[in-house]
Symmetry: D2
Subunit: 304 residues, 4 copies
C-alpha cells in the first residue's frame, strides 16, 4: 500500500503519509480493485468529493487504519485513487471474507455512502498509466504474489518432509526398508525440490530486476520497466506451477493419514489456490510468449 | 461389503446373510483395514472367540447395522474375517472421522473389548489369497475407487461448466467477447474433457472385464483375474490423474470469485485428494509397468 | 481416397470407380490439399476443363494409378474435386518429398499444365460441406490419423520393450539386480502403457461411432455427425499425446546405446512428429473444449 | 579433459601438460568411459605398463592429439587414468560413431593392443574418489552437459522463432490475423520461454557454485562439494526437461512444413535426445530427492 503512495503520490504526499505511518504505526488496507467499477466520485454543492458505492476484494481492510480507495470520477470517467482513514464516516467495512483459503486474512467488501474526500487526499498519478515509474506498482504487486506462492510452497515442502520423516511407513509393495528410501517417494521429493529451486532462482532474478528498476527513479525507461515486468511474470508462473504441484501432490509422499486429523494440511493448497486466482496464469504465459516470439514488452496495466 | 461376504463366505453363509440383509435392510460397514494389525483374536475358556483392539479407517461403521471385522488370530497369526452386528457388546464405534475431505461419510476408529464371535460368523476364505475368485474382492474395491474418482471429476466439471456459463467474465486482456469464447478457457475445458473421456472409457473397459470375471465363478483362471486387475488398475490411474487435474485447475476457468463464498467448490479436490490416498498411485503405475515390460500379472493382495 | 469417391461421388460414379479399381487393382493417391489454392480450373474454347498450377502434400501420388485432384473453378471460385488417371498428359508428379519422417512414403508436389478433365470426372458433392454424409470424409481422415499415431506408438513400445529385455543394464545407482526390475524403468513403462491403453480405448470408441455414422447413410443427422467428430477428435488428441511421449521418452528406458547404431530408433519419433503436424493439435483441443463448455458441435471442414 | 589433468594430476603433471597443450595447440579426446571395463592394465617383463582392450563412447577421440585413457589394473583391480598421445602405436581409433544425433562430433570406439604406457603418464588421483577436489571433475562434466542442453534448447527456440515470424500462417480456425498473434502459438512460446529462463537461471547458479568450489582448491569440504553437485544436478534436470519439451514441440508453433525440406529441424531433438542419455535423468531426480527429504549429499562418482 505504501508503495502505491510512493509511486502515485507527489513527493509532499509521500513524505507526509510515510511520516504519519511511522509515527502512528498505521496498518494500511485497500479498497482499490480496479476491475470493480462500482464506486463513483461526484462533487457535492460545496465542492467536496463524495464517494459512493462498494468494492470487492478489499485486502486487509478490516484491521486497517488507513485505506487506499479508488473510484471512477463521474465527470470524466477518470480512475482516481485516494488515501484516507478507514474510520471515516460513511465507510463500512464488511466482515464477509469467506474463502476456501487465506482464511486468516480478509479481502472482503467495503461500502461507501457519501464519504467525503478532500482534493489533497487524491494521489497525483493514479493507476499504472500515470508514469513509467508509477507503473512499477504492478510489478511490485505481482512479485509479492510470486513470493507468497513461493513461501506457501516452501512451507508445504517443509511440513511434508517433517511428516514423511516422522510418520510415513513404506508401502507394502515397496522394496525399501523405510519410506525415506522408497524410490517413488524420493522421485517425488526430487521433482518438488527442483521446481522449487527454479521458482526461487527466478524470483531472486525478478527481485534484483525490480530493485534496479526502483533505484532508477524517474529515469526508468519503458524498456527497463518492460524487462522487469517480464522477469516478474516468469517468476510468478514458475512459482504458481511449482506451488500447485507441491501442495496438490504432497499428500502422496505422506500417505493416507495425512488427509485425516486436525492438521489441516490441505490449507497449503487452499491458500495457494485462492491466491493464484488473483489474475489468470494463462494470460501471464501469453505475455511471456508475446515477448519470446514478437519481442513485445508487456503493456503496463494493474496486472502487468 | 456384501461382495466380501459373497467372495469370502461359504454358499450357506452367503445365502443367509444376503437374505437377512434384504429382509432387515441392513447397512453394512467395515472394520477390516488389513494394514492395521491391532485387533487380535483369542479363545476364552469356553472356546468362544474374543476380539480385542482397535481398527482405523472403518468406512461406514457409524451408521451400520452389520460390520465386516478382521483380526489376527493369536494362535497362528492368521488373518480372519467375520460378519457381526455393529451393536454387539464390546464394540465401540468412535465418531472421530475428521478428514479434509469425504466429510459427509465416516472412516474412523472402531474399538473392540472382549467382543465375542461365534465360529460360524467367520467367513470361509478370508482375504484375497483364499482363492482366485475370492481375490476378485480387491478388483471390486479398486474399481469402486475408479468410479468414485470419476464421479467426483464429472461433478466438478459440471459445476465448473455451470459456473463459467453463468458467471465468468472474460479477462481484460482477452480478445474474446465472452469467457465462453476465450481461447484459454476453451483449451482448459478441452483438456479436462479429453482426460475425462479417457477415464470413462477405461473405467467402462474395466467394468466389462470385471463383469466377465465375476461371471466365470469358480472357473476363473489366474490369467483372467490378472488381466482384470490390470484393466482396473489402468482405469484407476487415469481417473486419479484426470480427477486431480480437473479439481485442482477448475478454478482457472471460473475465476477468482470461485474461491470465495459458501459454494465450497474446493470440496471436489478435498474429497478426491482424500480418497485417492487409499493406496499409492505410484505402485499402481509400477504394477502396470511390470505387466508392460515383463508380462507379469499383479500379485493378488488387498490392494491389487 | 475411395472413401472420397464414395462420399463425394454420385452412386453411378462410385459404382464405376469402385469396379474399375478392383478390376485394375488401382492404387489411389491425391492432389487434394484444400489449403493449397494454387490449382485453377478454367474452360478451353471447346468447353473442356483445364487444370493448371501445383499442389503440395500430395500423399501417395508417386506410385498411384489414379489421383483425386482438387482445383478452384475460376468462374465462381468453387472448390471442385475430380478423379483421373495419374499419367494423364500435363500431370507431373515430383519426387520431392524429403521430410524428417515418413520417409518410406511420399507427400510431395504435383504440377498441372493444361490438364484436360471431363465434366463426368468431377465428383458430385465436392468437399465436406456438400452434405452431412459427405462431411464424414473428414472424420475418416482424422480417424486414420489416430490409428496411424496409435500404430507408431504401439510399435515404439514394442521395440522399446524388446530392447530393454535384451540389452539394458541397471544403472550403477539402481538397487535392482536387473533393468527389468528397476523402479524408474517400471514407472516409465507403466505410464507409457496407461496412456496407450487410453488411446486405444478412445480410438475403439471413435471407430464404433464412425461405423454407426457410416451405416446411417444419407439419414445421418448433424447431431450424429457432430458426436462422431468429437469422438474422433478425442481419440486423435490422446493418441497424439501418448505417442509423442512414448517416442520421445522411450530412450530413457533403453539407455545411452539406444541412440547409437543403425537401429535408427529415432524413426518412431520422426515419423510421428511429421504426421502429427497434419493439422494443429491445439485446435482439436479447442474444438473439444467448445463442446465441453458450450455444447457446440465441430463445424464440418476438411479438418473437423 | 584438461580439467581431468588438473584435478587428477600432480602439480608437476598439470604444469607440464598445460604448457605443452598451449605450445602445441593440442586437442584432447578421451577413452575414459568408466562403465566400460574392457581395458586392462598389465606389466610386461620390463616393468612397462601395457594397455589392452577397447573402450566405447570415446568422445572427441578421432581428431585428438592427446587422449585421457582409463584402464583397470589387473594386479589390484584399481581404476587408473593416463594421458598419452593419440597416435601411440597400438592405439586404433575407430570411425564408428553413428548415432541418431550429435553427428558432427564423434564418441566411438578406441582399441588398445599392447599399448605401452610409462608410469609417469598415470595421473596421481585417478577417478572421483581420489580426493574431494578431484571429485569436482564429475560436477564439471555434468555442468558441461547442462550447458550443452541449454545451448541446444536456445538454438531451437531461436530457429523456431525465426521460422514462425517468417513463414507460419495462422490456422484456418484461428481468430488471429497472423500466426504471431495466435493465442495458442503465443501460449506455447510463453511456456518454452519460461522453462528456458528457469534452466538458464539454475545453470547460472550452478556455474557460480562450481566456480566457488574450484576456487576453494584443496580446502574444499565435502559439504561444499556436495552442495555444488546438487546445484549442478538441479540445473541438469531442468535443462533436460526444458530442452526436450522445446525440441519436441517446436514443430507445433512452426506448422506442417517445418517437417519437410532440407532444414532438418529435427536435428535439435536428435542431438539433445542423444546427449541427454549420458546418464539417467531419473537418478539425478532421485539424488535431489535424497537431499530434499533426507539431507543426504550426493555420493561422489563419475556421474554425481
Amino acid at each position: 500500500m505504501l508503495a502505491s503512495v510512493s509511486l502515485y503520490g507527489s513527493s509532499a504526499q509521500t513524505e507526509e503519509l510515510f511520516s504519519e505511518t511511522v509515527r502512528n504505526q498505521w496498518f494500511w488496507g485497500n479498497a482499490l480493485n480496479p476491475l470493480d467499477r462500482r464506486t463513483s466520485l461526484t462533487f457535492d454543492r460545496s465542492g467536496t468529493y463524495l464517494i459512493n458505492g462498494r468494492k470487492s476484494f478489499c485486502s486487509g481492510a478490516i484491521d486497517s487504519d488507513m485505506l487506499i480507495v479508488s473510484a471512477i470520477r463521474s465527470a470524466d470517467d477518470k480512475f482516481m485513487v485516494a488515501a484516507m482513514p478507514s474510520n471515516r464516516p460513511g465507510i463500512r467495512i464488511l466482515d464477509d471474507w469467506d474463502a476456501m483459503g487465506q482464511r486468516q486474512t480478509d479481502s472482503g467488501t467495503v461500502e461507501f455512502c457519501d464519504v467525503a474526500a478532500g482534493q489533497q487526499e487524491f494521489l497525483k498519478t493514479p493507476g499504472p498509466l500515470g508514469s513509467i515509474r508509477a507503473s512499477l506498482r504492478s510489478c511490485i504487486a505481482q512479485l509479492i504474489l510470486s513470493n507468497i506462492f513461493l513461501g506457501i510452497a516452501e512451507g508445504a515442502l517443509e511440513e511434508s518432509r517433517n511428516y514423511t520423516l516422522a510418520q510415513t511407513r513404506p508401502w507394502i509393495a515397496s522394496t525399501a526398508q523405510s519410506a525415506t528410501a522408497d524410490p517413488y517417494i524420493l522421485a517425488n521429493y526430487g521433482n518438488f525440490f527442483i521446481n522449487l529451486q527454479a521458482a526461487q532462482a527466478l524470483t531472486d532474478v525478478a527481485g534484483e530486476s525490480l530493485q534496479r528498476a526502483w533505484e532508477s527513479g524517474d529515469a526508468i525507461t519503458e524498456n527497463q520497466r518492460g524487462k522487469c515486468a517480464l522477469d516478474v511474470a516468469a517468476s510468478k508462473v514458475i512459482a504458481n506451477n511449482a506451488g500447485l504441484e507441491i501442495t496438490n501432490r504432497m499428500f502422496e509422499v505422506m500417505g493416507a493419514r495425512a488427509a485425516a486429523g486436525p492438521a489441516r494440511i490441505d490449507r497449503y493448497w487452499r491458500n495457494l489456490r485462492t491466491h493464484t486466482l488473483h489474475d489468470p496464469i494463462d494470460y501471464k504465459v501469453r505475455e511471456l510468449g508475446d515477448w519470446a516470439l514478437n519481442h513485445q514488452l508487456p503493456k503496463p496495466s494493474f496486472y502487468s
